[in-house]
């Protein structure tokens, strides 16, 4: 009898705990990035505040958005930004498509382009990162290679469909290397796995990503070339949105890009502010965070850089990554009006400041 009572008590406690946990599911919880009130970008009802949900890849962070947040640029615009982390770009773009986030900020360029090629209704509205990817070789092989043509006969580690994969494979082709016959590619799921494999000398060369320099060096690897040198101005993470943005919601997007444009300037003028801002999000030691955010080959720019995106799209086609997207008109997947509006507002608000006029000139060169 006593045992039976005990069992009932045990069962009761378990059910009570489970019900409690279940009821907690419905409540707002920041730890899992659940939205609190607004379900989409725009204005919350009965409030003058705007709201936007920004998805980012944990491995890339969101440096410009962090600076804008840290410096109060979003607050000044009455914009409430909710950051939603992801481990995989594909999950992030899926969340964007199903209206769980409003902007994909650091999901790369190639992943959104691959989705667009499949017919996804996505638009590129701005930029975030350019360049910054190294080709790693073991330090004992320094001097062995003079150019990409010397990689013939070697085993190369890649993370397939990443920006470095596309940029460096295109460089190999340009150097006359037959990707099918002259080299052997070994594919890895994550950059960390790739660097570890290169460190263990399981591949001869690694097409790496930004953010792993000191880790790679500690494993006896050295950069042979940087993606910026191979293809100057090539784009990396783009700010991507859904194509069906209503007029009311569009204000929040403009405000968001306005914050990013201002953050770009802070990043250039004060790398230490960029470090402070990103430290809140990236939970690593200062040296590593600084390397992820302020490595000199990595350029943070909010410009959509349409011409470079089109170039990457063509390269992806040539490498056979976009067979299904051959008929998709990429030009229909740019929405540059938020960036233009944001920039024009900043010029109006700062008539004596030449900086934003220069940024407008750059925009014209890179997009029109």
């Amino acid at each position: 009898m006593k045992l039976l009572k005990k069992r009932k008590w045990l069962m009761g406690s378990f059910i009570a705990a489970s019900l409690l946990a279940l009821s907690a599911c419905g409540a707002a919880d920041n730890s899992t990035g659940d939205t609190k009130e607004a379900n989409h970008a725009g204005q919350k009802s009965g409030d003058s505040k705007y709201h936007i949900r920004v998805g980012y890849l944990k491995a890339n962070g969101a440096p410009l958005a962090d600076i804008a947040d840290y410096e109060g640029f979003f607050k000044k615009e009455n914009l409430d930004v909710e950051f939603v982390p992801f481990n995989s770009s594909t999950d992030g773009v899926n969340a964007l498509q199903s209206n769980k986030i409003d902007v994909g900020l650091t999901f790369g360029t190639t992943t959104p382009l691959a989705f667009i090629a499949q017919g996804a209704d996505l638009d590129i509205v701005g930029g975030h990162m350019e360049g910054g990817h190294p080709v790693y070789i073991p330090k004992e092989d320094i001097g062995k290679y003079k150019s990409f043509a010397d990689f013939k006969g070697k085993t190369i580690g890649v993370v397939p469909l990443g920006v470095p994969d596309v940029v460096f494979k295109s460089a190999l082709k340009k150097a006359g290397v037959d990707l099918e016959k002259d080299v052997k590619f070994v594919e890895f799921k994550t950059v960390a796995n790739l660097i570890d494999a290169a460190g263990a000398r399981k591949v001869d060369i690694a097409f790496g990503n930004s953010g792993f320099l000191s880790k790679a060096k500690s494993l006896g690897l050295e950069p042979f070339a940087w993606s910026n040198d191979v293809q100057p101005g090539h784009v990396c993470c783009r700010a991507v949105t859904r194509g069906d943005i209503s007029k009311t919601d569009s204000v929040a997007y403009k405000k968001f890009l306005k914050g990013l444009i201002q953050a770009e300037r802070v990043k250039q003028d004060s790398p230490e502010t960029a470090l402070k801002a990103s430290k809140e999000r990236i939970k690593l030691d200062d040296k590593t965070v600084n390397e992820i955010v302020n490595e000199k080959h990595l350029v943070n720019s909010a410009d959509p850089s349409k011409k470079q995106v089109v170039k990457l799209w063509d390269e992806m086609k040539q490498l056979g990554y976009l067979k299904d997207g051959a008929n998709v008109d990429l030009n229909k997947h740019f929405n540059l009006k938020f960036y233009e509006e944001a920039l024009n507002e900043l010029i109006k608000e700062n008539p004596d400041d030449d900086y934003y006029k220069k940024i407008l000139e750059r925009y014209k060169q890179q997009n029109l």
């Binding site: 045992l3 059910i15 899992t32 990035g33 992801f86 999950d91 899926n94 494993l219």
Partner: protein, 253 residues
């Protein structure tokens, strides 16, 4: 006394394993120190990461508890129904065999698209991992109930609630609980996948996060923390199992 002796052997094996790690990482150059960090670095990472690990424990339990609860309710409920209705079971068993081996990661895009919040999507992924062992364990448990029980039930005229709670469930309990044990272990494996989107903290998130940055001292600190929690939960579960199955005189603790 015997138990104490038995666990002292377990303890010495653990100390031995740590000793081997210390020797290899601190006194030889056999392995790369980045991938195999010395114990001092792992302890340092454990101490520094402890507040995050605790926070992660709370948020992971917020996902695991409802997922396991739902799996128990639907797994045992569904298992009872299909275990007792042979025809329905035969019609749907091809689906059970097709869906049960699928890795929960395949469902991530659908969970994100269909469920209203990331938290519910994570709970759903965990639920998929934990549901099948309980559901299939219950069906198997009912299928293996000794014929004497069925005969005695008919003779005594036991029906309805009494039939379920006093005959079917107790008789199939060993298999249901065995399935639940598997589900618990699986759910910790699936936790890594369930916390890959939308989560700012979590036991799986912690390990995954530092793996992405190749910070193996933190990865190992997270694995040690997770192992302690898993061990505690499994030990508690085994005690509960022994109590529920008191009539089986189980030897496991």
């Amino acid at each position: 006394m015997l138990k104490l002796k038995q666990y002292s052997i377990t303890f010495f094996i653990a100390v031995g394993l740590v000793g081997i790690w210390v020797y290899i990482t601190s006194f030889t150059s056999w392995v790369n120190p980045v991938i195999f960090p010395p114990v001092s670095k792992i302890i340092d990472a454990f101490v520094k990461g402890f507040p995050d690990l605790l926070k992660g424990f709370v948020s992971s339990m917020g996902l695991l508890v409802p997922a396991i609860f739902l799996s128990l309710v639907l797994g045992i409920g569904g298992g009872l129904f299909f275990g007792l209705h042979q025809k329905s079971r035969e019609i749907l068993s091809p689906f059970f065999h097709t869906f049960s081996p699928l890795p929960p990661t395949l469902f991530i895009p659908y969970a994100i698209a269909l469920l209203p919040t990331f938290k519910l999507a994570s709970i759903f992924i965990l639920f998929i991992g934990a549901f099948w062992p309980i559901f299939l364990g219950t069906i198997q448990g009912i299928a293996l109930i000794d014929n004497h029980y069925w005969d005695n039930t008919k003779t005594l005229g036991i029906k309805g609630k009494d039939f379920i709670f006093k005959v079917v469930l107790p008789a199939s309990a060993p298999y249901i609980l065995s399935g639940t044990g598997t589900a618990l272990i699986l759910s910790f494996i699936v936790l890594m996948m369930a916390e890959m989107f939308g989560a700012q903290s979590g036991m799986g998130h912690f390990v995954q996060y530092y793996t992405d940055f190749s910070q193996y001292d933190y990865v190992l600190a997270g694995i040690i923390f997770n192992s302690i929690i898993i061990l505690a939960i499994i030990v508690a579960f085994e005690k509960i199992k022994k109590r529920i199955l008191f009539w089986m005189n189980l030897k496991s603790e």
